[in-house]
C-alpha cells in the first residue's frame, strides 16, 4: 500500500492541531509527574507549612526498607500470577468459542460481561463470596477440609486478590484473543487439516504463532493493569492485609501517601513504580518483540 504524504502550507497549523492533545498531556500527566518527582526529594509536613530538601533520602530509605522490598517481590508474584492466569484462561475461552459456529455470539457476550464490572465492585463481589463469616466459598471449602480465613492467612488473601483481579481481566484478554484467532486464515487451517494434524496441533503450530502480536500486546497491557489498576480490588477485599500480605507497590503508595500523609516517601514510591513499569515495557519491546511475528 502506498502512503500519501500530506504537506501543510501553514507552518503553524500542525502545532495548533497538536495543541489540545499536548495541553492535556502536559496538565494531566507531565505536570503531576513532575510534581511527584519534585516532592520525592523533599520532606514536608502534610499541610505543606514546612518543606526541606532531603535529596535521595527517601529513595535510600525505601531501597533499604525490608517492607518495601517485600512489597516489590510480592508485586512480582501478583503480576505474574494475574497475567498468566488471565491470559491462559482468556486464550482457552477464546479457542473454545472460536470453534463454535452458532452459539459463539452468546458465549462472547457472556464472557465479556465481567469487563463491564467496575474493579471496586468486582472486589466487593469476591469479598462477599469469600467472606470468612458470611461468605459462600469458605462454607464450601470447609467440606473439602480447607479452613478459609483470608483475614489471617496471607497466602489465602493473595490467592483471593489474584483470582479477583484475573477474573476481571479474562474478559479483556478473551476478546482480543478471539479477534486474533478469527483473523487466522482459514486456508492455512484447512491445509493443515488435510495434512492430517488435529485441532490441538493446529492450535499450537498455526494459531498461536500467528496471534503472537496480540499475545505480546496483551502481555504489556496486563502487566500495566496489575501494576496500577488493581488498587480498587485490593482496597475492597483485603485492604493490603493481613500483615501486609497483599500490599503491592501501588497499594503502598496509597497507604503511605493518602492514609499516612507521608508525601515524600509516597512520591518516591510512585516515581520508582513509574520507572519499574517503564523498564519492564522497554525490556518487553526490546527482547520479547523480536520473537513476535507480525
Amino acid at each position: 500500500m502506498e502512503t500519501k504524504k500530506t504537506t501543510f502550507d501553514n507552518r503553524l497549523l500542525p502545532y495548533l492541531l497538536l495543541a489540545p492533545q499536548l495541553f492535556i498531556t502536559l496538565v494531566f500527566f507531565i505536570w503531576p509527574a513532575a510534581q511527584a518527582v519534585k516532592s520525592s526529594f523533599e520532606r514536608e509536613d502534610p499541610f505543606g507549612l514546612s518543606t526541606a530538601f532531603v535529596g535521595l533520602l527517601h529513595y535510600q530509605r525505601l531501597l533499604s526498607d525490608p517492607e518495601y522490598l517485600a512489597a516489590l517481590s510480592r508485586t512480582g508474584v501478583f503480576a505474574v500470577s494475574v497475567t498468566v492466569l488471565s491470559m491462559v484462561l482468556g486464550l482457552a475461552f477464546a479457542a473454545a468459542v472460536d470453534r463454535l459456529t452458532r452459539t459463539g455470539k452468546v458465549y462472547t457476550t457472556l464472557l465479556v460481561w465481567p469487563y463491564a464490572v467496575a474493579p471496586v465492585v468486582a472486589g466487593i463481589l469476591w469479598w462477599f463470596l469469600f467472606n470468612s463469616t458470611t461468605g459462600l466459598m469458605p462454607f464450601v471449602l470447609e467440606k473439602f477440609g480447607i479452613d478459609w480465613d483470608h483475614d489471617l492467612n496471607g497466602t489465602q488473601a493473595m490467592i483471593l486478590i489474584i483470582v479477583a483481579a484475573a477474573w476481571k481481566q479474562i474478559s479483556y484478554n478473551f476478546l482480543f484473543f478471539l479477534a486474533g484467532l478469527q483473523s487466522v486464515p482459514q486456508s492455512l487451517m484447512e491445509a493443515a487439516a488435510i495434512d492430517g494434524s488435529g485441532p490441538v496441533k493446529r492450535f499450537f503450530t498455526i494459531s498461536l504463532p500467528l496471534i503472537s502480536p496480540t499475545t505480546f500486546f496483551l502481555f504489556i497491557i496486563n502487566v500495566n493493569y496489575t501494576m496500577f489498576d488493581t488498587f480498587p480490588i485490593i482496597d475492597a477485599t483485603t485492604v493490603g492485609g493481613p500483615a501486609q500480605a497483599t500490599t503491592t507497590l501501588v497499594y503502598k503508595v496509597y497507604q503511605d501517601g493518602y492514609i499516612g500523609l507521608n508525601l515524600g516517601s509516597s512520591s518516591a514510591q510512585s516515581v520508582l513504580l513509574m520507572m519499574i513499569v517503564m523498564v519492564l515495557t522497554y525490556v518487553q519491546f526490546r527482547f520479547v518483540e523480536r520473537r513476535v511475528q507480525y
Binding site: R43, E44, D45, P46, F47, G48, L49, S50, S132, T133, T134, D151, L152, N153, G154, V239, G241, P242, A243, Q244, Q255, D256, Y258, I259, G260, L261, N262, G264
Partner: protein, 438 residues
C-alpha cells in the same frame, strides 16, 4: 418528574437567596448514614435559630478521607472553616500550628463564653495542649465497652444479668459458652488497636509511650511492649487456639459486630457509639452492656478508659465574619440540650457535664439501662498520665502496624512478645519520621 425538578430548582433558588444574606460556614465531616442525618439536623436547627450565619455540612467520606481532603484543600487554599478530625489525627493537627485556629483562642477572640471546666475531664484532657487549652471542640467522643448476649448466657447456664468483670471471668464464661454449645465462640472484639492495646494499657495504668503517652512532646517513644500487653496478647492467641476468641479483622474489626449479631460470639467489645447498631441488630436476642474487663492481679481498681471519636478543628485562612459564625455555632453545639440529644441518639458520650445532668434529670439512664456505662467507665477515678489519652504523630499508620503485628500473632507467625516488640520498633521509626518532618 417535572414537579420534582421544579421543586429542586425552587429549593436551590430559595437557598441561594437565603445564603445571600447569611455568611456561610462550611463544615466537612465524616458521619455517614444515621449519624450523618442527625448531624445535618443539628446544622439545620442552628441555621433556623438565627439568620446571620449558615452552617453547610458536607460529608467527605471516612475519617482518613475527610482529614486528607481537608489537608489537600488547605494546600490549595480551599479549606473549609470547620473539619471533623478523628482522635488519631490529633497529633497531626496539633503539629500543624500554622494551619489551625485553636478553639480556646477563637472563642476568646469572639467573646463567646467557653468554660473548659464544663466539659467532661477525660475529654478535655485528650484534646488540650500542655497548658490545658482546648485546641479543638469535642463533638463526638466514645469509649469502648463490652456488649454481651443475654440469651446465650442463659443457654450456657450463666446468669444473664451478670457480665464478666475480669479477664479470668471472660475466659471462664467463654469456656462454659463454647462447651455447652450455646455459641460457637465466647468473645470477639472490634478495634484490636484501640480496645485491646491502647485502652488495655490505660485501664491498667501502664504507659503506651514515654513522655506521658506523647503529651509531653514529640520526642516520645512507644513502650506498649510491656509485660501486661505481652501477657494479654499471648492470652488472646491462647484463647483463639482454644476457640474461645475469634478475631474480627483489622482497623474497626467489622466482622466482630457481624459475629455478635449472628449470635456466633456471645461477647464483643466495641465503641459505645456501637450501641444504636447493637440495639437495631439484636432482633432475636437481648443485649447486655458492661464495662471492659481487666486483670485483677494487675490492678485493683481499673483506671478510666480513653476516648475515641472526633473533634471539630477550625482552619486558618477565613475571614473574620466566618469565624464569628463558627464561634456562635460552637456555642450552640455546646448547649446541654443539643449535646444530650446527640449523645442519646448516637451513643457517643455527653461532652459536657451539663448534658449528662440533663440526661439524668430526663430519666434517660434509668429508662435505658446500660446507656451510662461508658460515662461511668470514662469518668471513674482520677486520670493518670497513662490513662489521660495518647498523642502521637503518624498514629494512623502506627495503628496499621499494630493491626499487622496482631495478624502475625493470630496467624501463628510470631509470638506475642515478638509481635509487640516489632510493632514498637516500627512505630518508633514513624515517630522519628514525624518529629523530623515537623
Amino acid at each position: 418528574m417535572f414537579n420534582r425538578l421544579s421543586m429542586a430548582a425552587l429549593a436551590v433558588a430559595l437557598s441561594a437567596t437565603s445564603s445571600l444574606a447569611a455568611t456561610e460556614v462550611t463544615w466537612w465531616h465524616a458521619m455517614g448514614g444515621e449519624l450523618g442525618k442527625k448531624l445535618e439536623e443539628i446544622a439545620t436547627k442552628f441555621n433556623e435559630s438565627q439568620s446571620d450565619y449558615k452552617v453547610v455540612p458536607v460529608y467527605k467520606g471516612s475519617y482518613p478521607e475527610t482529614l486528607t481532603a481537608a489537608i489537600a484543600a488547605f494546600r490549595a487554599n480551599q479549606q473549609p472553616a470547620i473539619v471533623q478530625v478523628f482522635e488519631v489525627g490529633t497529633g497531626t493537627m496539633m503539629a500543624a500550628e500554622g494551619a489551625v485556629y485553636p478553639v480556646y483562642k477563637l472563642m476568646a477572640d469572639e467573646g463567646e463564653a467557653f468554660d473548659t471546666a464544663s466539659f467532661l475531664s477525660p475529654v478535655v484532657g485528650y484534646y488540650s495542649d500542655t497548658s490545658g487549652n482546648i485546641l479543638s471542640l469535642p463533638f463526638n467522643s466514645s469509649t469502648p465497652i463490652m456488649y454481651y448476649n443475654k440469651d446465650v448466657f442463659e443457654k450456657a447456664g450463666l446468669d444473664p444479668e451478670v457480665a464478666p468483670k475480669t479477664w479470668a471471668e471472660v475466659e471462664e464464661f467463654s469456656k462454659k459458652i463454647v462447651s455447652s454449645g450455646a455459641a460457637k465462640c465466647g468473645f470477639t472484639s472490634a478495634w484490636i488497636t484501640w480496645v485491646q492495646t491502647e485502652n488495655l494499657s490505660a485501664l491498667h495504668d501502664k504507659p503506651f509511650g514515654t513522655l506521658e503517652n506523647g503529651f509531653g512532646g514529640m520526642g516520645s517513644e512507644f513502650e506498649f511492649n510491656g509485660d501486661l500487653q505481652v501477657k494479654h496478647w499471648a492470652n488472646l492467641k491462647k484463647w483463639q487456639d482454644e476457640g474461645l476468641f475469634k478475631y474480627g479483622g483489622p482497623v474497626g474489626g467489622d466482622q466482630a459486630a457481624t459475629m455478635f449479631y449472628a449470635q456466633e460470639c456471645a461477647i464483643t467489645m466495641n465503641s459505645s457509639a456501637g450501641r444504636a447498631g447493637v440495639i437495631n441488630n439484636a432482633k432475636d436476642f437481648t443485649p447486655g452492656f458492661a464495662p471492659l474487663p481487666y486483670y485483677e492481679d494487675e490492678i485493683e481498681q481499673p483506671k478510666n478508659s480513653i476516648i475515641g471519636g472526633a473533634t471539630l478543628w477550625v482552619l486558618n485562612g477565613k475571614d473574620k465574619a466566618t469565624y464569628t459564625g463558627v464561634a456562635k455555632f460552637f456555642s450552640y453545639l455546646s448547649q446541654p440540650e443539643v449535646q444530650a440529644d446527640w449523645h442519646q441518639f448516637t451513643g457517643y458520650l455527653p461532652i459536657t457535664n451539663a448534658a449528662y445532668d440533663l440526661g439524668k434529670s430526663q430519666g434517660y439512664y434509668t429508662e435505658n439501662p446500660g446507656s451510662d456505662i461508658a460515662i461511668e467507665q470514662i469518668t471513674r477515678g482520677t486520670p493518670s498520665a497513662n490513662s489521660k489519652g495518647l498523642r502521637f504523630g503518624n498514629f494512623t499508620q502506627v495503628r496499621t502496624i499494630v493491626d499487622e503485628e496482631f495478624q502475625s500473632l493470630m496467624a501463628g507467625n510470631k509470638d506475642a512478645k515478638q509481635a509487640l516488640d516489632s510493632a514498637v520498633e516500627r512505630g518508633n521509626t514513624l515517630l522519628r519520621e514525624f518529629e523530623a518532618a515537623n
